[in-house]
């Protein structure tokens, strides 16, 4: 599948934003008001900013972005529509939560309730994003049971890396739980991706060119219908990444491990240099997420390739 940069930017940026938002919601639900106005305000702005940038990026690849509002109508059947509805719906409790969280003397019960609702909506939105892909019968690699968990875990781990960095920038590197959660989330991300890659690599083909054409006796392609690449080939027949697949997977794993080490260093040294390592960890976790998402598209084969010379998928 063709990896559109706008879709990669959308799923990774909004994923990190929703992960951060969910963790902030849970932090509010657990510990009450933000410990510091600026820490609370900046964290909320970063989370909502990333989500907004991601949502805007997702409209870049549309043929008619001005009609994007129509996408809120078909939530009964379409995961893409559901994602749109939930993405917008999440802003309401998230903004209310953010306001209450940074203000002094907020109602604790209301804060807790809004925090939990925000966290839940953020995660359900990420599930909807994943389901857009996981619901397509035409791309077998996306039907793998790890697709939804991987989207959730990457959202939470990049969100955790962000939260850790924000906390350390505001002089809160000494929170052991946050460091542990971040390292654990990044470890889970690496494990989830290993399980997914092993899963798609060992998939046995179930559809053949014979099934696609209904012809028996070893079907081969001898003539393409057109002399230059058409939309179907450029969108669904993407091959570039297959060559570098293994190296790119190593880069994802390497970045995740490096991010874990940097979080640990930032936690251990603290002080004024700690935040530098924490921010570097965010960059590396981000690179891992982007490369992982690129591979998610580039290494997925579409059933339609059976009509274009692929013997089985």
């Amino acid at each position: 599948m063709h990896p559109a940069y706008s879709v990669i930017l959308f799923t990774t940026a909004s994923g990190a934003g929703y992960g951060l938002l969910a963790l902030l919601g849970l932090t509010g639900a657990n510990h009450g008001s933000a410990s510091d106005f600026w820490f609370g305000a900046v964290s909320m702005l970063v989370a909502l900013g990333l989500i907004t940038v991601g949502l805007l990026a997702s409209t870049f690849h549309l043929g008619h972005p001005e009609r994007a509002w129509r996408a809120f109508s078909q939530w009964r059947s379409s995961w893409l529509s559901r994602e749109g509805v939930l993405a917008v719906a999440t802003y309401i409790p998230a903004c209310l939560f953010g306001l209450l969280w940074v203000m002094p003397d907020s109602n604790e019960t209301l804060l807790q309730l809004l925090g939990v609702i925000t966290a839940m909506l953020a995660m359900v939105t990420v599930v909807c994003t994943a389901m857009i892909y996981a619901s397509l019968a035409t791309v077998r690699a996306w039907r793998h049971w790890m697709v939804v968990p991987v989207y959730l875990i990457f959202s939470l781990s990049t969100g955790a890396a962000l939260l850790f960095a924000l906390a350390s920038v505001f002089g809160r590197t000494g929170i052991p739980a946050l460091g542990v959660i971040t390292i654990a989330a990044l470890t889970l991300a690496a494990i989830a991706k290993l399980i997914y890659w092993a899963g798609i690599d060992s998939m046995k083909p179930i559809y053949t060119m014979g099934d696609a054409t209904g012809l028996a006796g070893g079907v081969r392609q001898w003539e393409l219908p057109h002399t230059s690449e058409n939309y179907i080939q450029s969108e669904m027949g993407f091959r570039v990444a297959r060559k570098h697949g293994q190296k790119l997977r190593m880069i994802v794993g390497g970045c995740l491990v490096a991010a874990m080490v940097l979080v640990w260093i930032a936690f251990a040294i603290g002080g004024s240099t700690g935040p530098v390592f924490a921010l570097l960890a965010v960059v590396l976790a981000g690179v891992a997420a982007v490369v992982e998402r690129w591979l998610f598209f580039a290494q997925a084969k579409h059933v339609v390739s059976l009509f274009y010379g692929e013997q089985s998928v």
């Binding site: 599948m1 690849h61 549309l62 043929g63 008619h64 972005p65 009609r67 994007a68 129509r70 996408a71 809120f72 109508s73 078909q74 009964r76 059947s77 379409s78 995961w79 893409l80 529509s81 749109g84 857009i132 619901s135 397509l136 019968a137 035409t138 791309v139 179930i206 559809y207 060119m209 099934d211 696609a212 054409t213 209904g214 012809l215 028996a216 006796g217 070893g218 079907v219 081969r220 392609q221 001898w222 003539e223 393409l224 219908p225 057109h226 002399t227 230059s228 690449e229 058409n230 939309y231 179907i232 969108e235 669904m236 579409h302 059933v303 339609v304 009509f307 274009y308």
Partner: protein, 251 residues
């Protein structure tokens, strides 16, 4: 609405095509006439980009592949037209976030409303048959309309109220009709010739059917041609001897 109409009702009309892989000669007339009609009809404009440049590309609703089956002397090539199959359970419709992609209740034709399509391309991902092509210039998805603007068009002569591809086919390899009616000509054709679905295990329930190539006789046409040199040594009739003399005189 992207929820699907109930197609299990008795008497449900299911308009579609039956394509005969035995008689298709790969002349591309169906693809060209499809392009010609649809670039001025419902799907207009059906854009080509750089049509006369070094790397032309564009949206076509019908593509003719060439496949080969069998081995050695039994190998045979055949032509394979591929277009929208107007499935009974089309995922291209249910994934559409705007409701632009829909299946008509009255005849089962799957259409895209070009005024509400946002060009997200998700429907093309959901189609296993590659039936939908994105029009980069128009910014919306294009697909076979089964010439919905011809088949009900009272401005056309009754014999012209057929999809453009069916009208254009010089070998009669394309048939149009109601596959929901088991007494229709197309349904009988499918039954008689063992028409089949593409990728039936994916359960999209295509309405369009393909007719398999007929079983071929072992030797080409059953003719064992006699070498020219031995023409004279035939049955010894007068005609035979005359031809033999001519053959010798000319040799």
């Amino acid at each position: 609405m992207t929820t699907l109409p109930d197609t299990t009702r008795p008497g449900q009309k299911k308009l579609g095509l039956v394509i005969d892989l035995d008689t298709c000669v790969g002349c591309q007339a169906c693809a060209v006439s499809c392009k010609e009609w649809n670039t001025q009809g419902y799907s207009a404009p059906l854009t080509d980009l750089e049509p006369y440049g070094p790397d032309p590309t564009g949206a076509w609703l019908n593509r003719i592949h060439g496949y080969e089956t069998g081995e050695g002397d039994n190998a045979r090539g055949l032509h394979f037209p591929r277009s929208c199959l107007h499935c009974e359970t089309p995922a291209c419709v249910t994934v559409c976030p705007t409701g632009a992609s829909y299946k008509r209740e009255e005849d089962g034709i799957v259409l895209v409303n070009p005024d509400t399509c946002i060009g997200c391309k998700l429907c093309s991902w959901a189609c296993p048959y590659g039936a939908r092509e994105y029009d980069q210039d128009d910014g919306v998805m294009k697909k076979c309309t089964l010439c919905v603007d011809r088949i009900y068009n009272e401005n056309l002569e009754p014999e012209d109220r057929k999809p453009a591809c069916v009208k254009a086919c010089p070998t009669g390899a394309r048939h149009f009709g109601d596959l929901g009616d088991e007494n229709s000509d197309v349904s009988k054709l499918v039954k008689g010739r063992g028409g089949f679905d593409l990728l039936p295990q994916m359960d999209y329930k295509p309405v369009n059917k393909y007719l398999p190539p007929r079983v071929r006789r072992d030797k080409a046409g059953g003719v064992e041609a006699t070498p020219l040199e031995t023409v004279g040594s035939g049955d010894g009739s007068l005609a035979e001897r005359v031809f033999s003399w001519i053959d010798e005189a000319l040799s």
